[in-house]
Amino acid sequence: MAILFFLMVASYAAGLLLPLCCPAKPKIQNLVAHGSAAFGSLGGIGLGIVGLLGPEPLTMSVPSALPLLTFAVRLDALSSFFLLTISLIGFAASIYAVGYVTAWYGHISIGLLGSLYNGFLLTMTLVTLADDGFFFLIAWELMSLVSYFLVVTEHEKADVRYAGLFYLIMTHVGTAFIILTFLLLFEGSGSFSFDAFRHPEQPLPDGIRTTVFLLALVGFGTKAGVVPLHVWLPYAHPAAPSHISALMSGVMIKTAIYALLRVYFDFFGGQFPWWWGFVVLVVGAVSALLGVMYALMEHDLKSLLAYHSVENIGIILLGIGAGMIFHSYGLDELAVLGVIAGLYHTINHAVFKALLFFGAGSLLYATHTRNMEEYGGLLRRMPWTGACFLIGAVSIAALPPTNGFVSEWLVFQSLFMSYQIPSLLMKLMLPIAAAMLALTGVLAMTCFAKAFGISFLALPRTSHAKHAEEVPWTMRIAMGVLSAVCLALGLAPMLAVPIIDHVAASMIGSSIADKMLALDRWALAPVNVEFSSLSTPALGLVLAATAALALGLVACCGGTSSRRYSKTWACGLNLTSRMEYSAAGFVQPIKRVFSSIYQPTVKLETEFLEESRYFAKRRRFEFHIAPVFQTYFYDPIIAFMSGLADRMRIVQGGSLHLYLAYMFVTLVMLLLAAL
């Protein structure tokens, strides 16, 4: 293990330093940086596998010259799982980047970009491995800092700068909460080492524990992007280069999930009241629903994907929250089920979100725009990208037989299992959460029907789209690999579930792998196979068979005649892309139905012909949805703070006598106080 670890760290470090040293040939820098990153992530994958197979956790620790700080590393099942996820995506991203960054040759320093990229991977890895609070904080802050620098890669653009700053400040707010969390844990143990957190000398009083729970939820939730702390995410993730966006959206926000599990199940040993789980559940449900709703209204492809990260984090938290509720009622098998659902969705989301961001990156690479309204008809120009994007879309829309469907199905099952909970409130709340999840699922389906349909189908809407070219093979390979993983995780869950079960069992203590794999591993069942079961391979087979059947029927019913091609009927006119349904038009009914949430402001300007008011020369339609959280949550805080600061300015009025008076008063006060 040590060898793998050092190999990984070494190659990341090499990728961190070499590109800066080696000659300023962008091509070489590109290969060096991303090559070593690929090596490092391979090492990470190996390390993760070792950790998952290894019976007991492996630890290493290097004391530092600084009090309180030890560079301690621990590789248990949980860390290994997240390490594996990160490294997997990291590997794909490294391959993708080789092709992707060529667009920047001569514009920005590829060496710097690549070096930061390696640093990003390294810090993320260390976050999952750290076994000491202080070390964890350093890795955590470094992760944020490096990702900030990657976000502002194109810092000439004002909105990118804004996004970066917003991200940096928000994540620091989160870190403040995390620091407070660790400080409270420190009180019980007198040390920052995670072992001390696990086994404090004197157990923390309940008040403190509750505070820790909430602080951790806010602190890590900020990074995970749960509503209402998500506002930075749709700005920051799209602003970064696409392979970075894939990493940020796919895995960086998962480190927060990791940390939450670490705190709740590891440090607290799963000792918590039911309402903790309920809070997590509610946060998850709200994030999922609002995330997808805001995503629907986005026409910037990368922002749309970023909002879907909010949604999927919500789905993950639904699983984990359900698990926590079950655990607090002593239903450990179901608790494991919930956590498995969450973790499975974690890795699935990582894979298909990365795949989709790669796709978006390829579109950006080919068309130089992120606005969906300027795409169209790209499936003809970029068949490979289109096919991969379609697989990603089907997966994130949780349609069978892909991986997204499996994990979402598991989340549904763990929510349905609520009928075993004694409390009536939970009995009712979890199915309602399930209903919200169902709504989320359909809306996600709609959103990606929009994303794929508007971008890849029908006629090109701009000359960019008309003249787009398929992307380099490295990018295609990366996308292909992830598409394969999507299908594999969908069609062969029986291979993944035991591993994830091992992870969940290591936290909760009871393994349910054998109960989940029914019918000699063909079907998946939530603990009791009578209640429900799912077999994606069977479904896949039946789908294929019926499709074949359809072909056969068509054939035997004489449907063999050749096809004829002609233009789409457009009421007698020539069909142009202006007649097509736009992304905005597609979601218009949804916007109208849920207008209470969107609070849209619509602006319609019409310019009529001189001759008659019955004919419009041009029409301009635009709608904005109210940024509710900025308006009612963030702006007031910012306004208050800066107002306070402004009012404080008078303290520094510029008058010498005033200053002397301060000193005088202070002195007299202290003298009197001293008596």
């Binding site: 009536l424 189908l457 069909l575 349904y581």
Partner: protein
């Protein structure tokens, strides 16, 4: 599922059920149209007319739009496949379907969603504004039906202690069915019925007969289709209708369904089944004559009602069970 079931028998059952679905579905559509015609004092076409239509469509040479991609041609097969697969998850005439293990109600709903997803894409692919309009309307209707659907079925699943459709039907059939806990079942039934109308694009949500731009939903999506592709889609939607009728019939009134595999039981089951779905078809036909199609943005109210009904069903279940 039945662990000790010979594989041959299983395959035979699956095929039989597939055949039933494929063959009966056009007749149901024909029946509904016939009923409507009668109620509108027309003679109307024969019940078997849809078979002739399908035959004709398969023969015709398909015309494809030049703007479309492979998605457009693949969609009919995918829709057909997903619908039939969904149909194979619910018991038709025998309560113990071998494919039961393959998926539960969630899988059922999401299989239909798979078909819908590609249908929406196809609607957009044609490039005409009608296709887009249909797709976007289909999306909103679907997004409102599915939560209600899942809640309703869950309310029933609680009685049977399972969400696998076949297990539900089997157990409710062995129990006294809907009489077990009437109130939740009735509410769930109402909810599922509304959902079924919406899902299958019937009045008052959608009108399969219309081709009026402003009102059509499903028809708008398939507007650019012709020939065998249109045939497949028509057939698939017929199957979908039948599947939903089967769902209602067998989940809420599983009486007479074959709970064992003796030929007698099976044949009785089949007969009862045909009567039940025919009855439901008559009901739908009548409804379609009595009600006008709702405005699109009134549909939300209807489906909201469905959701609340389902929720109440759940509540009642827990209340009565304590």
């Amino acid at each position: 599922m039945i662990p000790d079931q010979p594989i041959a028998q299983a395959v035979a059952l699956i095929l039989a059920q597939a055949v039933v679905l494929l063959c009966v579905s056009p007749a149901i559509v024909g029946l509904i149209n016939k009923v409507k015609a009668r109620l509108q004092c027309r003679r109307g076409a024969g019940i078997l007319q849809p078979y002739a239509d399908l035959q004709k469509l398969f023969r015709k040479q398909p015309v494809l739009s030049t703007t479309t991609t492979w998605i457009f041609t693949a969609t009919p097969y995918i829709v057909f496949a997903s619908t039939v697969t969904a149909g194979l998850l619910i018991p038709v005439f025998a309560s113990q379907m071998p494919l039961n293990f393959a998926g539960n109600i969630i899988a059922f709903v999401y299989l239909l969603a798979l078909g819908r997803f590609f249908l929406i894409l196809a609607g957009l692919d044609s490039g005409s504004s009608f296709g887009g309009m249909g797709s976007s309307r289909e999306a909103i209707v679907a997004s409102l039906t599915e939560p209600a659907m899942i809640m309703a079925i869950f309310a029933i699943a609680l009685t049977a202690g399972s969400t696998n459709l076949s297990t539900i039907v089997h157990r409710t059939a062995l129990l006294e069915g809907i009489a077990t806990d009437p109130s939740p079942h009735l509410m769930a039934l109402a909810a599922v019925f509304i959902v079924a109308l919406a899902e299958t694009g019937r009045v008052p949500v959608d009108n399969p007969a219309t081709h009026l731009e402003l009102t059509m939903i499903h028809e708008a999506m398939v507007l650019e289709y012709s020939g065998r592709y249109l045939g497949l889609l028509e057939w698939a939607s017929a199957i979908k209708l039948l599947v939903f009728l089967t769902l209602i019939a067998n989940v809420f009134a599983p009486w007479g369904i074959a709970t064992s595999f003796t030929p007698i039981a099976l044949s009785i089951g089949l007969a009862v089944y045909l009567i039940k779905v025919a009855g439901l078809a008559l009901l739908i036909g009548t409804i379609e004559c009595m009600f006008a199609k709702l405005r699109l943005f009134r549909v939300t109210d209807l489906l909201g009602v469905a959701f609340i009904l389902a929720l109440l069903g759940l509540l009642f279940f827990y209340m009565l069970r304590g």
